[in-house]
């Protein structure tokens, strides 16, 4: 019998190291030992990912390390997710994410998605190069609690303004907090285009989204 502490510690450790194989192995061990799947994700993998974010902020980790860690975490989450007990989650918070049209830089958006899913959010990911109409239609259909969008180029960031304007035209904006991100964006830019929040990186995006919905 392996202790719960050891299992969680290993899930965290191998996420940080970006070791997919060990992450898969410890996810299986967690299930075999009747560890709650949600706890394994949140207190194991997501905890590790939080350390990864800290290491990035400190300049000890870089993008390759984050990607490898995210891959390892995803490998464990895939095994654990089907075993999450539905009633463990209270009313799910739905987030729609996408990178605006003309822009294919989605590393940051993908990290936000992984961190949000691991934190129990329900994420609809529209992917990259997403036309305005797709954002609007998905929002009408899914009625999300939050819209998150990003652009990595100075040439595509004005698209975010168009999307906010379209939301206003459709009468969807007042009910829907919008958060934006991406290297060339700023808090001033976010305010200027009528977005409600801005995050400088993936880990602060999760914190900012929690603040937006008051959780």
């Amino acid at each position: 019998m392996v202790s719960k502490e050891e299992i969680l510690a290993n899930l965290s450790k191998y996420t940080i190291e970006g070791n997919e194989e060990e992450c898969r192995k410890w996810a299986e061990i967690a299930l075999k030992n009747n560890i709650d799947a949600y706890d394994a994700i949140m207190k194991g993998c997501a905890e590790g990912m939080r350390t990864v974010s800290e290491l990035y902020d400190k300049g000890e980790y870089y993008v390759p390390d984050i990607l490898i860690a995210a891959d390892a975490m995803t490998a464990a989450v895939e095994i654990l997710k089907p075993h999450i007990k539905i009633d463990r989650l209270d009313v799910p918070i739905v987030v729609v994410l996408g990178v605006v049209e003309g822009d294919v830089h989605d590393i940051g958006k993908n990290l936000v998605k992984i961190l949000l899913s691991a934190s129990g959010f329900e994420v609809t990911d529209l992917g990259r190069d997403v036309p305005i109409a797709d954002f609007i239609n998905t929002i009408k259909e899914k009625k999300p609690n939050i819209l998150g969008m990003s652009a990595l180029m100075t040439t595509t960031m004005p698209k975010m303004k168009d999307i906010v304007e379209n939301l206003e035209k459709e009468g969807l904006k007042s009910e829907l907090p919008v958060i934006i991100g991406g290297a060339p964006t700023s808090l001033e830019f976010a305010k200027k285009i009528g977005a409600d929040s801005w995050a400088k990186d993936a880990s602060s995006a999760v914190t900012a989204i929690r603040q937006l919905i008051g959780k």
Binding site: V63, P64, V104, I107, T156, S186
Partner: protein, 350 residues
């Protein structure tokens, strides 16, 4: 009050690139590409296929706004497209790689060939544009050619995320890919020089300290970048290296490639750069394309340009430039403000 220019844009820029002080003022070179197309009334997808329209947009804007350089059809991933990466070309925005050439090393790597610049992809269109601008400028206005940095090309052949993963997961295969990317850029770079470029922009948005460690940079990029730049310099052109983002920890490595100038964005403090590397290379920068040139007022542009001049213009070896390519919807009066500030505040005292 404005002053009369005494040097030609060519002489002024080349003097600064030689880390000397121009006779009259600081050269000013916003990196205007799609912005020029829009000013001239074209969609970006039109100038992607029509050399004459692209050349016209460049000449028209440089003349109308009075800045010191024209640019070839830069940063459209043409080098990677010519090796098999598939582009998506929006109607009025720059293209991007939709499907990288090397999805799988085993299957796709052996198919890679070094392109023939006079035949493959849209490379001939770009080279023809350089020739046309060189003819039209007659040595008065410098013509800038563009060649991807080897790591940029690698990312556009492999997909940026996958290339980043490969640093840890497939370093040996990745190095083989960087190697052929570098070779192909040497061949293309020589063609750009031969077409008449006076200076070449070697650019890389994905190797700053925001993305890769100094050690990654030293192991996976620097040796190849040195090789690429060494050959470009041999053709007799000036070469400047641009890496987007925070490069404060690797300015010394960038200089070690032998380039004439380093171009930086707003994440680098120009005073710091001037002190650290200003005696060895010319510094170009660093007006924020989004915060200032796109979203700022005329006086915001003036203020930021003055600060840049105060920090880095003393003694020459400085070019007032945008931190990266400028946005399509940048207000024209902000370009006017940038140029006016170079022509007044950027005046060198005799």
């Amino acid at each position: 009050m404005t002053f009369k220019d005494e040097m030609t844009p060519y002489d002024r820029l080349i003097t600064a690139l030689d880390v000397k002080q121009p006779d009259d003022r600081v050269p000013v070179t916003p990196f205007n590409r799609e912005w020029c197309a829009r000013q001239a009334g074209y969609k970006f997808s039109e100038v992607m296929v029509n050399t004459e329209k692209y050349v016209y947009s460049q000449l028209y804007c440089a003349k109308k706004f009075g800045y010191d350089m024209v640019l070839d059809l830069l940063a459209v991933h043409a080098e990677s497209e010519a090796m098999g990466s598939i582009l998506k070309i929006p109607e009025d925005a720059p293209p991007f790689v939709e499907k990288p050439a090397v999805q799988d090393y085993k299957q796709d790597f052996p198919k890679l060939k070094i392109p023939n610049p006079s035949k493959d992809g849209r490379l001939p269109i770009i080279l023809r544009g350089i020739e046309r601008m060189k003819e039209a400028c007659m040595g008065h206005m410098p013509v800038m050619g563009y060649v991807q940095a080897c790591w940029r090309h690698t990312c556009m052949l492999r997909g940026t995320e996958n290339a980043m993963r490969d640093i840890r997961k497939n370093p040996d295969e990745l190095k083989k890919l960087i190697d052929i990317a570098t070779e192909s850029l040497i061949v293309y770079g020589e063609a750009v020089a031969e077409a008449g470029a006076d200076l070449i922009w070697v650019s890389d948005p994905t190797s700053s300290g925001d993305m890769l460690s100094r050690k990654h940079f030293e192991d996976f990029i620097l040796p190849y970048l040195k090789r690429q730049i060494k050959v470009l310099l041999k053709t007799g052109v000036k070469v400047f290296l641009h890496i987007c983002g925070n490069v404060n920890d690797r300015l010394d490595l960038m200089v070690s490639t032998g380039v004439n100038a380093i171009s930086v964005d707003e994440k680098v403090n120009l005073a710091h750069a001037k002190e650290l590397i200003g005696k060895q290379v010319c510094i170009m920068g660093n007006i924020s394309p989004s915060k200032t040139l796109l979203s700022g007022t005329v006086s915001d542009v003036e203020n930021e340009a003055k600060i840049a001049i105060d920090k880095a213009a003393a003694g020459g070896g400085f070019v007032l430039a945008s931190g990266c390519i400028t946005p399509i919807s940048m207000p024209p009066e902000n370009v006017e403000s940038l140029v006016r500030t170079a022509k007044t505040y950027g005046r060198y005292k005799k």
